[in-house]
């Protein structure tokens, strides 16, 4: 990649992040409908995380060495199991106690 292309990647990432931050902040500040706000929060957060991973951390599903992808994807799996498992278990316990 040329330097100009790499710089553009950072700036695109920055721009997208600003938008994906402004939307949830505005919704909360304006006290809009709770359900809608929560969904928007979640979606914007996930999207912004992807923006950071792609444009700042230069991770992509192609063009990446196998080892690197294995590492990040496996970590994602572990996080899913551990956090998901914890939420499932503790919510169940709270309901029953």
């Amino acid at each position: 990649m040329t330097r100009a292309q790499e710089l553009r990647a950072y700036l695109i990432g920055f721009g997208l992040s600003v938008v994906l931050t402004a939307i949830p902040f505005t919704l909360v500040a304006l006290h809009k409908d709770a359900q809608l706000t929560l969904w928007v929060l979640g979606i914007c957060a996930v999207l912004q995380a992807i923006v950071h991973l792609r444009y700042f951390l230069h991770l992509s599903l192609h063009g990446q060495q196998r080892d690197d992808l294995q590492l990040v994807l496996f970590t994602a799996l572990i996080l899913l199991i551990m956090i998901g498992g914890t939420l499932w278990i503790l919510a169940n316990l709270t309901r029953r106690m």
């Binding site: 914007c44 950071h52 991770l59």
Partner: protein, 212 residues
Amino acid sequence: MTTTKSNYPGLNLGAAHGDDHEAAETAIFGFWIFLMSDIVTFGMFFAVYVTSALNTAGGPGPKDLFSLTSVAWQTGFLLVSSVTSGLAVLNLKHEHSQSQSPRKWLVFWLLVSVLLGIGFLQQEVRDFIDIAHKGGVPSRSAWLSAFWSLVGMHGLHVSVGSLWCLVIVMGVLAQGVIQRWKHAIMSWAVFWHFLDLVWIGIFTIVFLRGLV
């Protein structure tokens, strides 16, 4: 986008850096591995936070304690800091494949990033003091304990990252842009980006969610 495969995750130094690029494969991949374990630790604090979210034990809750403006400022500081750290790495990659290039822009972008990080920390500390004054001390309830530890853990990482960057700047000034500092800058930048990533989780799940 380019079709050249990268040797290690994140921005690669590129073949122009010769040995430094070769050696970076092990060094940077190793740092990513460590970072993954750190992410899991954060994940645990997040999980405990979410499961404690309703345990305010009659004490103050998020709506009593959080300031949206302050969080917005902190988010801004960290996001811009992330971009400037990227500019530092770009500078490293393109201006420093021969170590004779002038270091001032590299040092400049690194220092800007640290300054923004310190700005973030200063806001955050003010916030914490304010919350404590309103009765939101960590010993008041499980939710407050989880809040202070999750956000505090992140703040601690930002502090360590800021110190690390200063150490790198002094190293670069004293010893030049040698291999060990190149690798350190690359690792630090990845660390810094990840802290911004974790912050996305924090401002969404802790602050915004709390204020809905």
